[in-house]
Symmetry: C2
Subunit: 133 residues, 2 copies
Amino acid sequence: MIVKTIKDKGLKITPQRQLIGEVLDGNKTHPSAEDVYKKVSKIAPTVSIATVYKTLNSLADLGVIQRLDVGDGKAHFDPDITPHSHFVCLNCKRIFDISTSAPLPDFGEEFRVVKAQAVYYGYCKECQDQKEE
Amino acid sequence: MIVKTIKDKGLKITPQRQLIGEVLDGNKTHPSAEDVYKKVSKIAPTVSIATVYKTLNSLADLGVIQRLDVGDGKAHFDPDITPHSHFVCLNCKRIFDISTSAPLPDFGEEFRVVKAQAVYYGYCKECQDQKEE
DNA sequence: AATTTTTTGCTATAATATATCTAATTCTAA
DNA sequence: TTAGAATTAGATATATTATAGCAAAAAATT
């Protein structure tokens, strides 16, 4: 529950943050800021895109959610902060969770690793099937 | 040698492309388009940033170089197209090559993987040392 | 050498994201 | 319960990265 965590982390609870938290909670679609904004706007049309960006950044900085980069020029956000990887379909552009919990590798003194991100690119089942027709 | 490959791939050889190829050849710094532009500009100040972008995209699309995304909002380019990973220093922002040649995993029919990208984030030796002072 | 095709460079525009600033809201504590 | 301090929201200007469009130039072909 993101809303609960917001308070724990010292952020004030506002209707906007509550709403953004609800949009993110359990969300497996890895939405961009724009995606979140669209969803939020449907419920509360007056919420500003700036607020969405600020909230997403705050939550990501606090480690409540995860910022994800798959090379499409925009950040995606994932409420699942447990270690897992992602698969990006080059056709439909959807991002899927992969339960490969690759451990942080040990590169010795040379590099102290604090975060790892594995992204796989290819074609999801549906898009493979489409091409065969 | 990138210049050689340019011709093989059916692209015309121009002074601009030759220069961009030379800047990239053996380059281990993972430059952004802007970085490449700056280097090129020092030698040939009239080369346009648009040409740099177009050339980098062409080369990446042809698989001559690799487009790399580490989540800093801009694309980086790597002339080393052999399988390897990258380490990003969160302090100095440099990108280092990691010779971990993780093989493409097999996710079965569900996902057909064609490319994998592993990025590790942390602190390089130099930046670790700095903090200890 | 002329022609076709590609490429360049300029610039406008797009897309994503952040900064700034005032008004409004939240929360605390009296 | 409310006054006041601190934070947040919203509007918008601006920054940053990248692409699009087009005329002029250059490259390769014939």
